[in-house]
Amino acid sequence: MELFAFHLMPYPNIDPEVREKYSSAWVVYPNSEYDPVLGQSLYSEYLDQLAFADQIGFDAVVVNEHHQNAYGLMPSPNIMASALISRTKNAKIAILGNGIALRDNPLRVAEEVAMLDVMSGGRVLSGFVRGIGAEYHSMGLDPTRSRSRFFEAHDLIIKAWTEPGPFEWDGDNFQFRYVNVWPRPLQQPHPPIFVPSQGSSETLKWAAQHRYPLACTFVPMERLKQFYDRYRQYASEDFGYEAGPEKFGFTSIVYVHPDGEEAAAAEIEPHIKYFKERAFTLPLPTFFPPGYTAPESYKTRIEIARELANTGGPTLTAGEPLIGTPEQVGERLERNLAACGAGTLMAQFQVGDMPHGKVMRSMELFANEVMPYLSRDKVIS
């Protein structure tokens, strides 16, 4: 198994009445609510947490891209990745999204990720995302072009990394007379790509075709199994290979406490509540603006939104909760991965407004009392 340390870098002091007063913690939540002095210490603590993940032997640290929101303070994941290069030694730096469809010039991503790969000595894992609907509001980008922009930006970046320049690119969305990216990435033919999925057949088939691992965030176990099964089916039936566990990863909250499950749950519950009721305040038209998906996918989102309203918000844990004693967490973690045939757990130790000390205590327990007992054969070469 591979262990990634996943981070959102959330803002902790979101107004308790964010829903009533502002309708959203995204796009329109006023940035006068952000305190830059607090922001400095947050960045420092969050980077310390990821640096600690490297020290205790995590295979990768994960950063994300989200814009104009209090949910995650990483509008530029490449800046975070750059900060992590000097603070980490061995861990890969997984950029779970550059939102490549969001850039008017996707070659900036090709340049920046190539720089990071060279600077880090080839430690970059390059995630490509479309960006959630909110980003299209924040960036002033027509969401009906999102899928087309994503696929074209992907093709352009891969070609820029793998074929000698200069060459000309004349696409539906992007046109460049001269594509000739300096520097080129250190990893050959290019840094490993991975992509998230919310389960659309188009994305699953595309990912299977390119043999890109899926990195799924906040997807419940039943849906994970469906997504992975469909990926495996596309791989074997359409593209002639067997997709192993190295193709599949997902996020889960992890919280380890020496006194057992009840004590652990009591301590983490307020932070989960904060995450769901404040940071994740994301109205449907912000999350899924018109044209962001096909109409039938929107109808599915309505069904999911209704399910979530009944079950109390997004699923932060796929499968059995990784909240409890070291023994419980270790056993369940292995069972959860096995249950869906995944090879990578993206563990989220910091959730919502959880303070630094709590995060570090849980990570230390995980390092000392869980990790030594896990079967950690490498699945990603």
């Binding site: 002033g140 969401p143 038209p285 109409p295 309505i302």
Partner: protein
């Protein structure tokens, strides 16, 4: 009574609703799943042969790739007029349909007899207009008309199919209006719309203020009428008054 048929055009097949007898009238519908044959259509069909096409990317259809901006629809409807052999029809448009009508008249005013524009959009406003794309669907309908029932399209408690239909119309509107809910070229081109034009707005319009309609009418050298008690989509809120207005406007053209 109406019939629906499909006719091949160079862009894509057009779905057309047709009803009534009389001089030809091209009716260009508004947004948010309001393309269906309605009381307004019936009232117009008493005096006209009404052709009410459904815009590409509306009425449940996904946004077509070829659709880039409003002028694509002007050319699409020019092709429709030719295919249907309509001889200088009266063109009636509501909201986004009025914008399409304006663009059609700018490019091909010799092909049309005159225009009635209900709650037209497409002009740059000195004050920002509401951003319908970030609103909850019931709110969107609230901005558009008094007579639409927003609760039906609430994704959480309403009819999921209806909500999806409104959302799908909004998607094509997003293609056309996400970056700018106006065409900056309209101001410099309006004088090409060389035909008689009437602008009509509801006095309870919550999407565009009266000053906006006044600017529109002035730009297009059009008369301006206000309908009491109606919101932005006048023909939905007061089909009788809207149809009467079309009839009386047509009589002035005959003189």
């Amino acid at each position: 009574m109406s019939e629906t048929f499909s006719i091949d055009l160079p862009s894509q097949p057009a779905r057309v609703q047709r009803g009534g007898e009389g001089p030809p009238l091209l009716l260009l519908h508004s947004e948010a799943n309001t393309s269906a044959w309605s009381e307004f259509h019936d009232r117009l069909a008493a005096n006209f042969e009404v052709f009410a096409p459904i815009h590409p990317g509306f009425g449940g259809e996904e946004t077509p790739d070829w659709l880039v901006d409003m002028s694509d629809l002007a050319f699409h409807y020019k092709d429709l007029l030719k295919s249907l052999e309509l001889d200088r029809p009266l063109v009636v448009g509501t909201s986004i349909g009025a914008w399409i009508a304006s663009d059609l008249a700018i490019h091909f005013s010799s092909l049309i007899k005159g225009m009635v524009l209900f709650g037209p959009i497409g002009l740059r406003s000195p004050e920002p207009l509401p951003d319908l794309f970030i609103k909850q669907l019931p709110e969107v309908l609230g901005y558009l008309a008094n007579s639409l029932d927003g609760s039906q399209v609430d994704p959480m408690t309403g009819d999921a199919d209806l909500a999806t239909a409104v959302w799908t119309d909004l998607a094509t509107q997003a293609r056309l209006m996400w970056k700018r809910n106006y065409d900056p070229r309209l101001r410099g081109r309006a004088h090409h719309a060389d035909c008689p034009i009437m602008v009509a707005v509801g006095d309870q319009d919550r999407l565009t203020p009266l000053s906006y309609a006044e600017a529109y009418a002035e730009l297009f050298d059009a008369s301006l009428t206000t309908i009491t008690g109606a919101g932005h989509l006048v023909p939905l809120d007061d089909p009788a008054a809207a149809a009467a207005l079309v009839n009386s406007f047509y009589l002035t053209l005959e003189k």
